[in-house]
């Protein structure tokens, strides 16, 4: 038991938890914005998979992580255009169309990987970027200020998104469109465009999340995300549709994952029992969903409801 604790509460575990939280955080922040505008995007995992594959492939070709990240965002934006068309123009049932996008991403990323790469080859991973002074703080410095650039970017997105949603005209429109689209529409706010932009940003972030994951691991494989995209959606509920809540949830997931990894490395959990530790995040999510279910007031009122003028 003490072994479990000493392995768990180390700076290394914590630091790796912060790093592992990044894909969850990026995807969940994107989903938060989408849901605030009233659109549930269940396709996050598929977008992440395609983003991950294309950025992996781009890094393999160019050996440039920056190109890889940009490609990830680009893939997300392209799929965002598709999803915006499906949900906003065709007003498709969001709970199902997202599953279609997921299947598409799952199949296509595996197909292209087989065709273009075949045998997995590792790619170069992120460089660490220690923040001067702050990274010198004992313990705290290593936990928070000695990571790759993307970790900082994703963390800065939290206050950024909060400000965007709460303090800008666009954010006001987003909230209005997500709560009472009829009212927003009557005031001349374009429900369609507002939602489309939110979907685009959200999918771009999902693509980036996939890129972050592939580059962090340095490899691509079939179903690389293993449902991280779905957990990211759950994190939005977990965080009660607020970026600050979402970051707390993401960090919790990163920490659970890194702790489990450390246990495995230390040989504390072996063989078949490791299944239970892998199961932990999913169980945790279910518990979180039960707890959060009582707070339905926080949910955007028009979530999953397509908007038709005059209804």
């Amino acid at each position: 038991m003490t072994d479990f604790l000493t392995v768990t509460f180390t700076v290394a575990t914590f630091a790796s938890g912060v790093r592992l939280a990044t894909p969850y955080l990026l995807a969940a922040l994107g989903e938060t914005l989408g849901q605030r505008s009233g659109v549930l995007n269940l396709g996050v995992d598929g977008v992440m998979l395609l983003g991950a594959f294309f950025s992996y492939w781009a890094v393999l070709q160019t050996d440039s992580i920056a190109v890889g990240l940009l490609v990830g965002i680009g893939v997300g934006l392209v799929l965002g255009v598709v999803y915006a068309t499906v949900t906003v123009v065709f007003r498709a049932e969001q709970g199902i169309s997202g599953i279609g996008i997921f299947l598409f991403g799952l199949g296509m990323s595996a197909l292209l990987f087989e065709e273009w790469v075949g045998t997995p080859r590792p790619i170069s991973s992120f460089d660490k970027l220690a923040i001067p002074l702050l990274s010198d703080i004992p313990k705290i410095g290593d936990m928070f200020f000695n990571h790759n650039l993307l970790v900082y970017v994703s963390m800065l997105l939290v206050p950024g998104l909060t400000l965007l949603v709460n303090r800008t005209t666009f954010g006001l429109n987003v909230r209005a469109v997500g709560e009472t689209p009829e009212a927003a529409d009557s005031l001349g706010v374009s429900v369609a465009w507002t939602r489309a932009i939110c979907i685009l940003i959200g999918n771009g972030l999902a693509g980036l999340a996939g890129a972050a994951l592939a580059i962090e691991i340095g490899i691509f494989q079939h179903n690389l995300t293993n449902q991280i995209g779905f957990i990211a959606i759950a994190l939005v509920y977990f965080g009660a549709w607020r970026p600050t809540g979402v970051v707390a949830g993401s960090l919790l997931y990163g920490l659970v994952t890194s702790t489990v990894n450390q246990w495995k490395t230390a040989g504390l959990v072996t063989g078949a029992a490791s299944s239970f530790t892998t199961m932990a995040p999913a169980l945790l999510t279910i518990v979180a969903l039960v707890v959060i279910a009582r707070r339905t007031a926080a949910q955007p009122a028009a979530l999953t409801l397509p908007f038709v003028r005059g209804h």
């Binding site: 199949g107 999913a282 209804h311």
Partner: protein, 410 residues
Amino acid sequence: MLAGRRARSRRATLARLGGISVGGSAVILALLIGAAMILGLGANPLEGYGELLKGAFGGTEELAESAAKAMPLLFVGTGICVAFRAKVINIGGEGQIIAGGLLSTMTALAVPDLPAIILIPLVLFMGLVGGAIWGGIPGALKAYLGVNEILSTIMLNLVAVQLFNYLLRAPLMDPKQIELGTRIPQTRRLSENADLPILIEGTRFHLGVVVALIAAAVAWFFLWRTTTGYRVRAVGASAPAARYAGMPVKRMTMLALTISGALGGLAGACLVFGSETHRLQTEGFATGFTGSAGFNGIVAALFGGLHPLFTIPSSFLFGGLLVGANAMQRVIQIPVDLVIGLNGLIVVFVVSSNTLRERLSRYMSIAGEAAEHEEVGGHQAPVVDEAGPSEPTDAPDGGDDPVRTLESEP
């Protein structure tokens, strides 16, 4: 009255034909995109699709193989029909298949010596129970605690996979694997008394396929010929109206997901005992065992207009696509994953075509009925209505309009 009914059923048939043509266009569009991709990958799409068709429907053996592949899709798809009619979205097919497979396997390991006539029904029943548990949990969570069933079913998929991995790596592992030290995560060959009999000699057409067909028929009977099924649909069409009529809305919601899960569980049991190896094994992921039927079943159900009987040909089509994809891979070296991706596109196209379908059905002069129905259902028409090829209340086999009949109920 009779004439009105006949006219209505004629309109419904027209609308259904319209719906099928929209669904057919979705498949054709997806296949065209697939062809462009095959071309882009440097292979011949005509040759590929030719192999696909031949591999899927080219002969008795191929047809039987397609039917066997369609079996889990039909089970899951039928379950999806029941759930979606109650406006419950069940994404947990994968987990439910695994739960059914595990419980039926454990049963066969526990009582291997029972005669086949008892053991086969028993393992199938235990599969059903396993799936029902795995569907009942999110059902109860949704009905009584308001937990979003989409997310909880997805999470239960992950839990089921890990439970599956654990059980096959430890307590259920073949003793021979432990003895030899190879430790392949699989059970020993399960009792021969539990083997699902092959019904067409020399093919893989086993009893499970027939059970799936029966399940679809029973689901149709349940939904349109029983009071409980009627209540399930009424809850899906309008929960407030159903509540106002004194129906147990929560119980119906839970029931729909439980039935949906039970059908997935049956698929799991049939997959184990109808398999060629007659053992349960894991590759670490769900797909190895389920063949992604939990997701592909959704595609089949949507394509079948969320109607259990129409899901039969639809499942057969998608089963065939999957079987044919293997043949295609052998000849033009395009991985089977293409079909999974195309299935995703088909889902997107089918659900996107609702707006188109609405216009189509209005064109076919059922506007009056549709509008009347929408008024009752509120501004957001229930998913069951939108995704079906026709208004479910207009279906020839389910002519009772939930709202109109509501008033005549005591």
